[in-house]
């Protein structure tokens, strides 16, 4: 499959890693440990998985307005996803990336992709380029 060009939601560092496609919406606050990136919500189907260094595919987010703080903290701790792929823009979450840039901590890129394509990437090695192209890698 060739690369797919996506809209860039927040410009940032390009990145590659294993695609982690979340099966259910997640609340970052209370749902992800800001120190290590592990999914802490016991009710989430991927409880215990680690989002650090992954290419994280989010079909939706829920809950607390502190998601941006958790994402900023993950960026500063070096535990953020390598790239974020969202079905739709989530201003609360993505603000964490905008503030990271303001603080001088290089954020990962965030792009927009319709969730119907998410299954093309599940658990594969994926790269997201600086210009928003997502593709499978070997």
């Amino acid at each position: 499959m060739t690369g797919r060009r996506c809209d860039i939601l927040v410009p940032g560092e390009p990145g590659g890693g294993t695609a982690l496609v979340l099966d259910a919406p997640i609340s970052f606050w209370g749902g992800v440990d800001p120190e290590n990136g592990v999914i802490a919500d016991v009710r989430h189907p991927q409880h215990g998985c680690c989002i650090a260094g992954s290419v994280l595919f989010l079909s939706g987010t829920i809950g607390s307005s502190s998601a941006s703080s958790v994402l900023l903290e993950l960026v500063r701790n070096g535990k953020a996803p390598a790239a974020l792929v969202l079905h739709e823009p989530d201003a609360i979450l993505l603000l964490g990336l905008i503030v990271a840039r303001e603080m001088g901590w290089p954020p990962p890129i965030a792009i927009r992709l319709n969730r119907e394509h998410f299954s093309d990437y599940c658990n594969a090695r994926v790269n997201v380029s600086r210009d928003g192209v997502v593709e499978l890698t070997r």
């Binding site: 927040v10 120190e35 829920i62 307005s65 502190s66 900023l72 201003a91 603000l95 964490g96 905008i98």
Partner: protein, 416 residues
Amino acid sequence: MALVLDDGERRLLDGGAGAAMAMRIVVDAARLLGAERLVPIASAHIDGALYHGDSGTLFAERLVAGGARVSVRATLNVGALDLTGCSSVRLDKRKSVMARRMMTAYRALGCETSWTCAPYQATHRPAFGTDVAWGESNAVAFCNSVLGARTNRYGDFLDIACAITGRAPLTGLHLAQNRLATVLVDLSGLPAGFLASDIAWPVLGSLYGRLVGNAVGVVTGIGVRPGEDALKAFGAAAASTGAVGLFHMAGVTPEAPTVAAALGHLPPRETIRVTEEMVRDAQSRLSTAERPDRVDAVAIGSPHLSAGEFETLDRLIAGRRLSVPLYACTGRHALGAIDASGMRKRLEAAGVTIVADTCVVVTPILAEAPGGVLMTNSGKFAHYAPGNTGYAVLFGSLAECVESAVTGRPAIGAPS
């Protein structure tokens, strides 16, 4: 359409370092949201002063160093410390120092030291129809739904950036057409006894959030008119399980004098008739503890307890001594009232730990108890406690919570 800024807004971008940074954040958020203009705001409620790690402290201190000040009334949501000294927080020394620095920085930006997730019960009640920028999901739901002021769900950083600039992206729930309900949630099939019970609203809120997600719904068929504390519990639970920023209740909330008005006189996109089975399922999902034979702690007050809720607690305890700790989370607004009446002394003598300025789910206050069981009457605590505290949760009514705190065993079925 690209975002258009007026002269005043452009001047802020070239102003002091702190205000300019705040304006860049507002502008970036506006572009992300597809807004074409910014809208002046009347007030803000700031969720950003809760310590999640050093990055948030450094951000606030960067704004202070840049000379930023809020330009509108701005109340503060909970912090990570109990500055009143009512309860002790088990943050380690380093984190405690950083959390205090963060709280100090937000005060230096000109925010009010309200430290509550229920600012709407602490005199901060924006007028119907005004634009505001509020953070904290339950406060947002209450502000939009019960007060009829207009706010989106402002995340950390954007809330303070809006408060400094006095502007917010004109989009989402600031626009009248986006405030109309598209989903009808009909409760008329539920027994009147359930609707009148005190678990009804947190359970229904939790169900509602899962059913509607980020859509706007109108609830009908409610029978007994819920009071303000019930609406608070409903909104908090709904905003925990779904991205609920605004709900309507026909005949109760100000933008829903009738079902038809809430729907903008259009047919609903979806109608959900809530059944007893759906309610039973929603209620059982609020508990994660499987057939517990003991309760290690009880936590209430998410959102923060009002003075009226303290009166109910005091009446239910009825002078008895608790055998397990009961944490009652509140803000300074209610603390003053219960201090003055002598109730605080009485509750503390019974074994209640009052927690002010913060709460047991956002900062370590509960004893470390691997495998411990926490009982609560809050849909929001029930949702977040397992991930944030490590306790398994048992959900029940306030009366059941109090009886369990007295006996140390789950007292499900205690009369209220």
